[in-house]
Symmetry: C2
Subunit: 378 residues, 2 copies
């Protein structure tokens, strides 16, 4: 079902199967060691990097020279490090490369661009109008790429963050993930710009993992009830946790019991179902009524929390994450859901509703951190 | 819950986080390349290995020299390879090293030893008597190690394959996984012999993966309803899929609906529940009655298949395995379960009820295949 997208997502992982190792692989791994050291510890002298990583000073100097040439590092003023005599420090240089995540969800398109230093360059929201959603998506991607280029960055990747199934997205009902990816890729001709598509919950999990640094499961209510999983630091496929059912044929699914749409219908019985195309305002209204102590709303949240906890317990049992993250709409309602979950180590996402767009952008930048330096645009 | 066991199981995986690469790492990776080539292709000349792996002939010769020194390779007669002039072929040498898996389940202990060439050295079953199960386990492990040593092999590892929870094992009710591992380890003092404990379904999945070579999910009915998962070639924690429930508090779990014990109770209403300590004979009786067309038995199998399919569908959605494997008791009953599963790519395990013991043994041998050569015993 999500095969093409998975192949793309695998770009963010390394293969476990050993390949013939040669000196180029050693250099790639060592470039990654230097980049990750600087990301974790901030500007450092060559001597400090050598002391912390076990590489020789000569190797660090050679690697640094290459990385400065790739415009991934720059020299700053005097180093504050205590190791060795005061000297020039190296810092990550975010000025050359950027990547973009575009989140496709019911009712809204979101584009987020980030440069290699972690600076957010743009965050745009567009209403996703049903008949022209594909065209709107292409236009948004093109405008985002242009804007980032105007800011002097080479765009090395763009990821579409999409639900497992596009069938609930008006205007994309008959389009496959690969067709959507290829539509956007064809509209953005630039050598060295990689266009991928992946599950939105899996990408949100990537963004959370970059922040939290531990294995985690992320649940999203933005498209049914989807889960993204990070195991041993790497994204698994994730997918529609909400499809799970346990009962005779035709029994309610987990999404029927714990999905955001079903929550809104239970919590706001007077709400116009036509307004559910964009869940954001409805979820805000649920929060307002819960805060006011509305009994119907609180009962609906208890119901959702009970069943969501059953789904989270299963993820905890199967993949043993250090952290269970309530994403997007679930994060908005976390204070009323968490008391009913009965699972440990749950916390609401602090990344907001565009976590998947962020994950889409950082998954390309993470590639650079593995030592695979960008290809020149020309 | 299964934290210690998981840490042990992680011995079989490689870390995704890049470490400073040095020439020792390159050599380890290249040793692995040579060993895996020979495991996949059989005896080959140095020239053929070089041609297939991209390593230089000089490098292959040097690696082969080391591996012959470690007694992991031997030279055979003339090579049948077409590449280069006829010469001496290299073959995996299984004569030096072996490892052991000991499967701990309700009613039975199983020990299986295998040498590095893949030859099975022993397969022993012992009835697991309740009051002395821990002592019986230690005695079985000691006898297996002695026997393998008498056969001239150095034992490099022993893995205990246990259920996620030991509470259902009479005689081990108050013992933790780490306590059990340490009990056995203390009784087997030998330098270079690593004793680990891991989930039995996860280990069965390792054994299946060695055979099938693709990502898979394995379901076991030997202890509740457990799942083992292989993703990107590496074992995940796995665990008690059967604990999953979807409904008001107190609703039946997936194990209540699709576990082997509940199947036996439904299929054989006249069966003495006291006889369920060892499920094997009861499962055989279910198969006999199903073959005879007994309506009660067939209805029970349909019920089990329906719910087991719901569990398998969830695994397929979350981790996207290429293969869903019905293990142990489910394999015995596969012909009556599969028609009711409604999932694709299911097949019964061909490894029989001791797949977890096999997985325990091969997980140590797989370590050698990653280039980490055994430590000498003295």
């Amino acid at each position: 079902m999500f095969g093409a997208a998975r192949a793309e997502l695998d770009l963010t992982t390394t293969r476990a199967e050993p390949q013939p190792a040669d000196l180029a692989d050693v250099r790639t791994a060592n470039l990654a060691v230097v980049l990750r050291h600087l990301r974790a510890h901030g500007p450092s002298s060559r001597a400090a990097i050598a002391a912390a990583t076990g590489l020789t000073k000569a190797t660090v100097s050679s690697l640094a020279g290459d990385l400065i040439g790739f415009r991934l590092l720059r020299e700053t003023g005097l180093s504050g490090n205590r190791i060795g005599r005061p000297g020039t420090a190296l810092a990550l240089d975010g000025s050359a490369y950027a990547s973009i995540g575009v989140q496709v969800s019911s009712g809204q398109l979101t584009a987020l661009a980030m440069d290699y230093s972690g600076e957010r360059l743009l965050l745009w929201h567009r209403a996703g109008a049903a008949p022209s959603l594909a065209a709107d998506l292409v236009a948004l991607a093109q405008r985002a790429v242009s804007r980032v280029r105007q800011q002097g960055r080479q765009v090395i990747g763009l990821t579409l963050a999409a639900p497992s199934s596009l069938t609930d997205l008006p205007g994309l009902r008959d389009v496959s993930h690969e067709e959507l990816r290829s539509l956007v890729a064809r509209s953005l001709r630039q050598k060295g710009l990689v266009v991928t598509i992946a599950n939105q919950a899996a990408l949100a999990a990537v963004a959370e993992h970059r922040r939290a640094g531990v294995d985690l499961a992320y649940v999203s209510g933005a498209a049914g009830l989807e889960a993204g999983l990070i195991v041993d630091g790497r994204p698994l496929r994730g997918g529609r946790l909400g499809r799970f059912t346990l009962g005779p044929a035709g029994s309610p699914t987990l999404a029927d019991q714990a999905g955001i749409e079903s929550l809104v219908r239970r919590a706001l019985p007077d709400f116009d179902p036509a307004a559910l195309a964009d869940l954001g305002p409805a979820v805000e209204e649920v929060a307002v009524r819960a805060r006011a102590g509305d009994a119907v709303t609180l009962a609906a949240l208890q119901h959702t929390g009970h069943y969501l906890g059953q789904g989270l317990a299963l993820l905890a049992e199967l993949v043993d994450p250090a952290l269970l993250v309530l994403g997007d709409h679930y994060a908005t309602l976390a204070e009323w859901l968490i008391p009913h979950l009965r699972v440990r180590a749950v916390s609401p996402s602090a990344l907001g509703p565009h976590a998947a767009a962020l994950g889409g952008a950082v998954s390309h930048l993470d590639q650079v951190d593995t030592g695979r330096v960008p290809q020149p645009a020309e």
